[in-house]
């Protein structure tokens, strides 16, 4: 039965996340935007609370994206079972947290993208052994961004150790995290099939954070360059099989994105929501009359523009919830995950920039957070697959094309 509202069961979680956004994130939002690279210690307490919630099995977090133990709700009238589980909970929670501050949400301890990857592709034994840590994800290299099959970081087996060498950039939480999941090739000549991921704890010999980037936005979150110079990790730290089989294993690694892309889309929805809410507040002072919903021609230009932005946000939000719901119900969702990410990424950029414009000097000045959100927004249309990569994924699926046909 079609129902696109927030499920009753998850409303307390949404309220909690909103409360955190309001009382923890917003008060320190500007502070860590200005103090780039200083660690937001206020988050330690929050992380501890979230750990407790997750261990209780009622949480929404990176590690819950795939591992879904919520009971299935019986379908009514013999309808197929309907699961509102970890993926839906995570995107709903993330929307609220990022309404508070996306940079801070990205740097909550133990909620890294690596945690999501581990729970998507790790064995139970690996999850148990590595899972309690804050794990970052290292894929991009100076000469391989969107084309992740072109990475040059390589790994070779030497006795009981993997020996990894290469340079990774743009590693979110790369400095603060306690471990990094690194993509490396076993043989660059063999292409995608040879790309594997490895769990590399901080302090592994030969691993070094060499640089922290200064960024346009999400400045509360650290973005690191990490060099691996003959870095050794135990043989068991490879995620998935060590065999070079077919393109299957790469597809497996890419599958992580089916779960994480809706989360990034959710971040975008949260930031966009924040900008629209704030703009409404500001414009209300400027023009106290409520826009008449049913008579679009009678309102002001600003009313009409805000309504248009609302509609764009609503599309992004529903596409995101839909993609997460599919993941919860084990329905293949690569197409919908990319649709959500594509739409939300471009929507948040347009919405936040337009809100700055609508609010004029108030929107542009650092005295308000609107300009910050407009800077934060841009990354959401880039990481976890750029707008253009999402469009390729969608186009290939819709047109039934291979990556060789549509490049």
């Amino acid at each position: 039965m079609i129902d696109l509202e927030i499920p009753k069961r998850l409303r307390p979680l949404v309220d909690q996340a909103h409360a955190i956004a309001t009382s923890v994130f917003r008060p320190i939002s500007r502070k860590y935007d200005l103090a780039e690279h200083s660690y937001p210690k206020e988050l330690d307490l929050l992380a501890a609370i979230l750990d407790g919630v997750n261990d209780g099995g009622a949480g929404a977090s990176a590690s819950q994206l795939k591992r879904d133990t919520t009971p299935e709700e019986p379908g009514s009238d013999g309808a197929p079972k309907n699961r509102n589980g970890g993926n839906l909970a995570t995107v709903l929670g993330m929307m609220e947290l990022c309404w508070g501050d996306v940079g801070l949400a990205l740097t909550i301890p133990r909620q890294g993208l690596g945690n999501a990857a581990l729970s998507a592709v790790g064995t139970d034994e690996q999850k148990a052994r590595f899972g309690k840590r804050w794990i970052a994800m290292a894929i991009t290299e100076p000469n391989a961004g969107s084309d992740s099959a072109a990475i040059r970081t390589h790994a070779r087996l030497d006795g009981d150790s993997w020996v990894i060498s290469g340079e990774k950039i743009f590693v979110t939480a790369g400095d603060r995290a306690e471990a990094v999941i690194v993509w490396a090739t076993l043989d660059a000549a063999l292409g995608r099939a040879a790309i594997k991921s490895f769990f590399v704890p901080k302090g592994s010999p030969g691993m070094k954070v060499v640089r922290l980037d200064h960024k346009l936005g999400i400045r509360a979150s650290d973005t690191a360059t990490i060099v691996f110079d003959e870095c050794r990790v135990p043989k068991e730290n490879i995620l998935g099989s060590a065999e070079i089989e077919t393109d299957k294993s790469f597809a497996g690694a890419m599958k992580t994105f089916d779960n994480t892309r809706p989360v990034i889309a959710a971040m975008a929805c949260g930031v966009a929501r924040a900008a629209i809410d704030r703009t409404r507040e500001i414009l209300k002072d400027a023009q106290p009359r409520d826009a008449n919903l049913r008579s679009p021609w009678l309102g002001s230009n600003a009313d009409a523009e805000l309504a248009r932005l609302e509609a764009e946000l609503e599309v992004a939000r529903l596409l995101t919830l839909n993609a997460a719901w599919m993941a919860d119900n084990r329905i293949p969702n690569s197409l919908q995950a990319s649709m959500a990410k594509a739409k939300a990424g471009r929507a948040v950029t347009e919405i936040t920039l337009r809100c700055v414009e609508l609010c004029g000097a108030t929107g542009y000045a650092e005295a308000d957070l609107l300009e910050k959100w407009a800077r934060d927004a841009k990354i959401l249309d880039i990481f976890e697959g750029t707008q253009q990569i999402q469009m390729l994924v969608v186009a290939r699926r819709v047109l039934g094309k291979t990556s060789a046909e549509l490049r």
């Binding site: 709700e73 009238d77 309808a79 309907n82 509102n84 679009p296 609503e314 839909n322 469009m391 290939r396």
Partner: protein, 441 residues
Amino acid sequence: MANRTEILKRISGAPLRILTRLGGSDLPDRFHFRAAGERAVYEAVRAGTKLVKTAARAAAGEPKRLAAGKGTGLFDPRPTEEQVLMRDSMRRFAEEVLRPAARAADDAAAPQDAVLEQGHALGLAGLAIPESFGGAATERSTVTNVLIAEELARGDAGLAVALLAPLAVVHAIVEWGTAEQQARHLPPFLGDAHVPAALALLEPRPLFDAMSLRTGAVRTTDGGWALWGTKCLVPLGTRARFFLIAADVRGLGPRLFVVDRDTPGLAVTADPAMGIRGAGLGRLHLEGARVADDAMLGGATPSGAFDLGALVDRARIAWSAVAVGAAQAVLDYVVPYCNARIAFGDPISNRQAVAFMIADIAIEVEGMRLLVHRAASLADRGGAFAKPATLARLQCASKGMKIGSDGVQLLGGHGFIKEHPVERWYRDLRATGVLEGALLA
């Protein structure tokens, strides 16, 4: 699992009815009923429904309203099993009946009689009419109405509007009519013959505001009403037997009036437009058109309190659903076309400029659909749906039109000529955001 009889009973007025109505035509064969059992159950249900119909006819008193349904409290993008069955039947009807008839209806600016009869035989009115009047409706079915509108419009928007127009009249009478009006006007829609009727809200002026009507009704000395004003782009205008006309009543506000086509003071002319031509659009000229007191839907009683805002919102949901269907038709068409069309040695869809345009259509159609479904499902639950309906309409007007335009663009010169339907969809999709009323979801 609720038993199958119940489910089929709910859709017994739907495509299955064609089996008996048009027993001699080849139409039943086109529906490819998979299970022989479906037919058997249907026959049993149909016999039962007829009994209910005659028994309930006499019952009057309080008007029958459809109550809001209950949800499960869970997020769920899937229609019910019953809705899926119906949607599939509508899809086949749209593909096999509407699409082949679309071009001729567009040229003639009128729907074909045969299409209207076949559409009527789908029995959709039965889904909208409460059980006590012989229909199968037990609760609000905005989502179902939206799914139907989507699928019919995927075949052809103009003909879809023609088929949905009488349903809007039915919905309005169920929602706002008195018991007497319901008993008088609803049963004919369940009969064997198509009942052409339409809801008229839109007025011909720029920046039209659906919430402030210039058409007015004034008391006559004999206790009836006289209507003055102009209604335009009314579906089935050229053939409707009666209209539901929205007019402002001083002291009461906006109301709907049942006005017969041959009412003195009402003149109807054709009002062909850019698109939606297959609906047979007409213009109503009201120059003191005289109707009796009981022509006012719901009367002046509290139980019949008419809500123009709700009408406008439900109409916008329905028009948005039509846009979703037409936009989906564009997507369905451009994918195989661009995959087959060769330029510079490759299918044009191998180029990002083309492929991304199509990806964008796919994303926006899905987004439009989700907005419409959300508004509809809120309406079914009795939730506030004015804002979701507004957002759906905004999005469907702008993105729907973009899709219509891109559809023509993707076919290039071929898109501009009538050998392909994309130019018609371009014209049809401009209706979203312009046309008001006429349909109800």
